[in-house]
């Protein structure tokens, strides 16, 4: 069997996703606070966007013709910070300041502090509206090559504002706007029911596809934790068909860490020393690197 250039590219992106996950674990462990399940589920998508798909210049974060990224599910900030740091926007060491006094890496993304953030987010449902404004503005100012990517949570899609934005984006035929729903099937707590740990998923199977379709969007689905599929779907999403595009990214909450996968209660939680070591081992991080705790 020969290793193709394509395989090497996928391997490189998978390694970036793995490193994002390691940095998420380190930073949240260091801060003794922060979200884990959501950033881990989204790590592959973030790696593909920042290391392959988006047209960006890390040394020129305000480049006017750059693609934009809005993390509408702002509570996954540490995943985005890890991607930005590894991509060269700021030193990886700075991730250790996450959530601490004076840090540029606030609990939820603050564009006034950190270059490379295209919008401040944190109150759910808003990022998609801001992304719609960015895409509309890029079109109005003649930058039709700019793509605006907005990552939402599946729980977040319970916010009414998401559907206001969906309605308006379709009205404007805004085909440069690409929403990605990190569909990890769990929200912070959820309705009681017969799902994992006695909680229901935020939406019924197929519900997101039918809703976004009904609002006039092109809907693509992908296994959001399989890099080759992620890369393929993002390439397809970039090409327009006159409608805004949503990628329903089927993921596993807590992906990559054995004891977190599929459990709502790892939405936010602090790690014990043993859990920290296990998490890094699960992510294939050498044991030597774990002994010092945070980097």
């Amino acid at each position: 069997m020969t290793i193709t250039t394509q395989d090497q590219e996928i391997g490189r992106l998978e390694e970036n996703a793995r490193r994002i996950r390691v940095e998420i674990i380190r930073a949240v462990n260091q801060a003794r606070a922060g979200h884990l399940g959501g950033p881990l589920s989204a790590a592959d998508m973030l790696a593909a966007l920042y290391f392959r798909v988006m047209r960006i210049k890390p040394d020129e974060p305000e480049w006017p013709d750059r693609d934009r990224f809005v993390l509408s599910k702002g509570h996954s900030s540490i995943g985005l910070y890890a991607a930005l740091a590894l991509r060269g926007y700021f030193p990886v060491e700075e991730l250790a300041t996450f959530d601490s006094a004076g840090s540029r890496l606030q609990g939820h993304p603050d564009m006034t502090r950190l270059p490379g953030l295209d919008m401040s987010t944190g109150s759910l449902g808003m990022g998609i509206s801001a992304g719609l404004g960015i895409a509309l503005g890029a079109r109005l100012t003649g930058r039709s090559d700019v793509r605006t990517y907005v990552m939402l949570g599946d729980g977040e899609c319970q916010e009414g504002e998401v559907w206001e934005a969906a309605m308006v984006a379709a009205r404007y035929g805004l085909d440069t706007l690409i929403a990605i729903v990190d569909h990890n099937k769990l929200q912070q707590y959820g309705w009681p029911g017969d799902g994992p740990d006695g909680r229901m998923p935020p939406e019924a199977p197929g519900e997101l596809v039918s809703k976004w379709s009904a609002f006039g969007w092109r809907v693509l689905e992908v296994d959001g934790n399989r890099m080759s599929a992620v890369v393929d779907i993002l390439d397809r999403a970039r090409a327009s068909d006159g409608r805004p595009t949503v990628v329903i990214s089927h993921t596993v909450k807590g992906k990559g860490v054995s004891f977190m996968e599929g459990h709502y209660y790892w939405h936010t939680r602090t790690l014990t020393a043993d859990e920290f070591a296990t998490a890094l081992a699960d992510l294939g991080e050498p044991a030597a690197a774990t002994t010092g705790g945070p980097r």
């Binding site: 006017p64 509206s129 719609l132 404004g133």
Partner: protein, 322 residues
């Protein structure tokens, strides 16, 4: 003698922002389906490409405005005040105030002049809410002349601004020689007996009230405060010093708006008796403008009556102390 009617602020709004857009390609107008009322339609007529209908979805509209500002555009957001302030308040807080993005929130239908709509459309606490929000400049023009100037100033300023505009034609306070200065209050009338401080379209009625008071031998000093935040501290202190007794008057709740702001300033800088006239912790209701002004004590005659009573009580207190 009463001040004459000027033009409706909403007409001036549509015309002024449209005229600004003639020379400033960054300006865009966002509307939540009420452009035919707020007169954002004047802008649409002249600049159809830069008029952005957002539908009946105000929360999304504020988010879109923030996004537009990040690519260097200057969005003016227009709907009714009631739906521009409280309904999308969290979007304003997170996406506009916290980011400091260059969004102009310029809704019409402020205060009680909302055209027979009832309490859902009458918002009486918008100034309190907006001035309390960190980073949000708050401007309440007195008439059409000042509204046009404030809107022009607003386009030249970089950052979030809230401008409170009124639906109907209201009395004109200023002539064309007037020049709006951001952050500066204006002495509208000189007097020595009582200081009246007002804002927005209430000021012309307060100036009329001062004429009624003059006929009774009370010379009122009238200070108009168009910029509620940042507030003009020296002007308020100086106005209080003129008479030693201050009455604030606003077409708005007395809680936290102009009256609250003046009381904050004076309690810190020059403790002075402050009486607050305005909506007394109540919602509004449907009625003609004239009937509502009477009901809430905001017509010139009702303001004069209340100020006269305050001055009488004050004289008795002073006499009792002597």
């Amino acid at each position: 003698m009463t001040l004459p009617l000027g033009r409706a602020m909403r007409e001036v709004f549509g015309e002024t922002v449209s005229a600004l857009a003639d020379t400033d390609p960054r300006i865009v107008m966002l509307d939540a389906d009420v452009g035919s009322s707020t007169r954002a339609d004047i802008f649409e007529h002249n600049h159809p490409d830069r008029y952005l209908q957002m539908g009946i979805a105000e929360q999304n509209m504020m988010g879109v405005a923030a996004g537009l500002a990040t690519v260097g555009l200057t969005p003016f957001v227009s709907t009714f005040v009631a739906f521009a302030v409280v309904r999308p308040l969290d979007q304003i807080r997170v996406l506009i105030a916290q980011t400091g993005l260059n969004v102009k929130i310029t809704p019409g239908y402020a205060g009680i002049f909302t055209g027979l709509t009832g309490k859902t459309h009458l918002i009486v606490d918008d100034v309190s809410i907006m001035r309390a929000m960190p980073g949000m400049v708050t401007v309440c023009p007195a008439d059409d002349v000042e509204a046009a100037q404030a809107l022009r100033w607003c386009a030249s300023y970089s950052g979030p601004v809230y401008v409170r505009l009124v639906r109907d034609a209201t009395q004109r306070l200023f002539d064309d020689s007037y020049s709006f200065e951001f952050g500066r209050a204006v002495v509208a009338r000189e007097g020595r007996d009582v200081t009246l401080i007002s804002t927005g379209t209430q000021t012309p009625r307060v100036v009329d009230a001062a004429e009624i008071l003059a006929a009774q031998g009370i010379e009122a000093h009238v200070l108009h405060v168009p910029t509620i935040k940042p507030i003009d501290v020296p002007a308020i202190v100086a106005a209080a010093d003129r008479t030693g007794i201050v009455v604030t008057v606003e077409e708005h709740t007395v809680l936290g708006g102009l009256g609250g702001a003046v009381a904050e300033v004076l309690s810190e800088h020059r403790p002075t008796l402050v009486k607050r006239l305005g909506m007394q912790d109540v919602f509004g209701e449907s009625a003609s403008n004239a009937a509502l002004l009477e009901l809430y004590g905001l017509s010139a005659a009702r303001v004069a009556e209340q100020v006269s009573a305050i001055c009488r009580d004050r004289s008795k207190e002073v006499a009792a102390q002597d």
